[in-house]
């Protein structure tokens, strides 16, 4: 049975959701096992001691870039049709959103996808922060925070099309992206080899985590080119889907249609849960005596607002958008690192434990 007949039998929405679920399952499992975490990577990097967590993150990033660029080169993916490049965007939104998100993820001790993965391991801090994150995302998209988002967004808007494509902007298409991707992968392998020579499973986990991004792009593009309806190509992202699920739980009147995102979120949770059970990591955890609920709440709100402003979280903008070399995604990724580094300095200056 091929994809076309599957689409005919089950309909686009269900096939997309099933694909999202399958990819989410793998992502959740691999990310849990490899302890894939952007926040920990920034932390190690800012302490000038790139270690285990940094190398896992960097290797995953490199794998995602190379895989996705290979898809582009073989014609299995047309990134120009994705929302990251085709739609109008905002430079100010990407930069400010990234800064907010980065600062938030330091306070909350994990970015959006990490919160989801930790929730499935019995971490109630992450579960609650995730709820606050989802509520803020929804309020920023179409609630009370929407006017604030629009204000920041309108400071420096840019058109969709080639002006949002980094490769076109720099005149390096079609090989520029591949070269950068290969360089990222090569440095990733170097860091990894230096850090944990002899842990092939960890390397495999990191690479598989990254390749889930590629799989998301490839799968939705395959559906889009086979389907008779308009299907938006996309890849892993956690800010939009968490708001979508929140609204699905809250109100049957305004349930958004099923799609890739609808399958992705619960499957990532299940994948991470399976990973935790396999590895014996499952443990109910709440707030310790340190009493940092205020930090978590502030961080989750900053992340939620930042993610919508920037058009994605560390995975959604940083990896999915970065892998197709969207200008705003790269700005977001850099700003997330900058925001996180600044928040770290503030933390240290205030004497807070990190």
């Amino acid at each position: 049975m091929n994809l076309a007949s599957l689409l005919e039998t089950w309909g686009d929405a269900h096939v997309l959701a099933a694909g999202g679920a399958l990819i989410g399952l793998v992502f959740g499992f691999m990310a849990q096992r490899s302890r894939f975490c952007a926040r920990a990577a920034v932390l190690e990097c800012c302490d000038s001691q790139p270690g285990e967590r940094f190398s896992v993150w960097w290797l995953a990033l490199g794998a995602a870039f190379v895989g996705t660029q290979l898809l582009v080169l073989t014609g299995a993916l047309q990134p120009a049709t994705s929302r990251f490049i085709a739609n109008p965007g905002s430079v100010s939104g990407a930069v400010l959103g990234g800064l907010f998100f980065g600062a938030g993820m330091i306070l909350t001790r994990g970015c959006a996808s990490r919160l989801l993965i930790l929730s499935a391991n019995g971490n109630l801090r992450a579960l609650l922060s995730g709820l606050v994150f989802a509520v803020t995302v929804q309020a920023t998209m179409s609630g009370w925070l929407a006017p604030v988002r629009q204000f920041f967004y309108a400071l420096w808007p840019i058109d969709g099309g080639p002006t949002r494509d980094l490769q076109t902007l720099t005149g390096t298409a079609p090989w520029g992206g591949t070269v950068v991707a290969l360089a990222a992968l090569a440095t990733g392998i170097y860091f990894f080899w230096r850090q944990h020579n002899g842990r092939p499973w960890l390397a495999l986990g990191a690479v598989a985590t990254g390749l889930c991004i590629t799989a998301g792009w490839g799968f939705t593009q395959a559906v889009a080119s086979q389907s008779f309806e308009a299907v938006a190509i996309t890849s892993l992202s956690f800010s939009g889907p968490s708001a979508e699920w929140l609204m699905r739980v809250l109100s049957t009147a305004s349930v958004p249609g099923f799609g890739f995102d609808a399958g992705l979120l619960p499957a990532t949770f299940v994948g991470s849960l399976v990973g935790a059970l396999v590895g014996g990591d499952f443990k109910f955890e709440g707030f310790k005596t340190e009493n940092k609920l205020g930090h978590y709440l502030t961080g989750a709100i900053l992340m939620g607002f930042g993610a919508v402003l920037a058009g994605g979280c560390t995975v959604g903008a940083g990896m999915s958008g970065g892998a197709i070399f969207a200008l705003t995604a790269w700005l977001t990724l850099i700003s997330i690192w900058a925001g996180a580094a600044m928040a770290l300095r503030v933390h240290k200056a205030m004497g807070w434990t990190i």
Partner: protein, 367 residues
């Protein structure tokens, strides 16, 4: 200028919102100062320590009953048009919802209104639990949990009208309701007099909190009488408004404003002022992982229970109780039972040596 002109000038919805805010402000302040809390009262009751908390709750409850019945006797309030009496209700929902709510408020250490009051005192546990409460309530109202709520409600329905009115069912008038309220006031005064830690705020706050419930009924009836549009009369409640506020923050276009729109911020502000006056403001978070599990489960129970029962500890327990709605009394009974059982089951072992009275089951008599 009379109410009719104000309605003409500003519209009945804005007037309702302003009234809600004003009454909410008074409720928040008085409830904060008197530490009005159904959970604490129930636990005192089951532990046979008839002290300050029970006195405050009884004072508020009896004041609300007396106030509402006086309004009804002077024809300033027509209780038959209240949602809790006029519309079709569910006895199974009231009982199951009350039990769940009671269990939830023991787990979360505070009922819905108490969470709102405590949030304004810097208690971040209460703030987060309140968010979970609102999410669950909204989900039970019209989201993923609503089929379950409808199913439980459908087991045993009761028609609107006299069959939901306890006084009408017993063939009694509002005089009997007033007498009932006075009896409970006596009981409240007795307990309050015996209570070792009585203070002025206990008296003023307790009675004042109850009177704000009566004020809400009277005010919305006043607007309803003078307005040309149909206006639903209502008392204080916190489950519906918190769900409404959640959706207001999340989505555009938001629901139209009304009494509930003003109520929530009013209570928050009132409690905040109370905390400032009394020097109670303090940022507080979670202590450990175990308590977090309790708070989350409790907030979910309360959110679902209050929507099932048609009101929270204040909305059904005091507001609905004061107009003698049948379902509200069943809900209140369920809350006392659910809270008592949960307290024995969850906190019983820990308290067993602290209070030997808890070891003996008490007859299930609830006011």
């Amino acid at each position: 200028m009379g109410m009719a002109q104000w309605i003409e000038l500003y519209g009945d919805r804005s007037l309702l919102a302003v009234g809600g805010a004003g009454i909410g402000l008074a409720f928040g302040f008085l409830a904060q100062r008197s530490r009005f809390c159904l959970r604490a009262a129930v636990i005192e009751f089951w532990h046979r320590r008839f002290g300050e908390k029970l006195s405050v709750w009884l004072l508020a409850f009896s004041a609300a009953v007396i106030g509402v019945q006086l309004l009804a006797l002077t024809h300033l309030l027509d209780t038959a048009t209240a949602r809790q009496i006029a519309t079709r209700g569910s006895l199974s929902g009231a009982l199951a919802g009350g039990l769940l709510f009671g269990a939830g408020m023991v787990l979360t250490r505070g009922c819905a209104s108490r969470l709102l009051v405590l949030s304004a005192n810097g208690n971040l546990r209460a703030l987060l639990s309140g968010l979970i409460f609102a999410v669950t309530a909204q989900s039970a109202l019209s989201g993923a949990l609503s089929p379950l709520r409808a199913e439980i409600s459908s087991w045993w329905m009761v028609d609107g009208g006299p069959s939901r009115d306890l006084l009408a069912r017993l063939g009694l008038g509002h005089e009997a309701g007033l007498a009932f309220g006075l009896i409970w006031l006596m009981a409240a005064l007795y307990f309050a007099w015996r209570s070792p830690q009585r203070s002025l705020w206990m008296w003023v706050g307790g009675i004042g909190t109850g009177l704000t419930v009566a004020a809400a009924w009277g005010y919305s009836q006043w607007v309803a009488r003078e307005s040309f549009d149909p206006v639903q009369i209502q008392g204080l409640t916190f489950s519906g408004p918190s769900a409404e506020w959640l959706m207001r923050v999340l989505q555009w276009p938001s629901p139209p404003i009304g009494f509930e729109f003003g109520l929530m911020p009013g209570v928050f502000l009132g409690s905040f002022i109370g905390a400032m006056v009394g020097g109670d403001w303090k940022l507080e978070g979670f202590k450990d992982g175990y308590s977090m599990r309790r708070y989350i489960v409790g907030a979910i129970f309360m959110g679902f229970g209050s929507m099932l029962a048609g009101g929270c500890a204040v909305g059904a327990g005091v507001t609905g109780g004061a107009i003698f709605a049948l379902t509200a009394w069943i809900t209140l009974l369920g809350m006392w039972l659910g809270a008592g059982l949960t307290d024995r089951w969850i906190d019983g072992p820990a308290n067993a040596h602290a209070s030997t009275a808890a070891a003996h089951p008490t007859p299930a008599v609830a006011p």
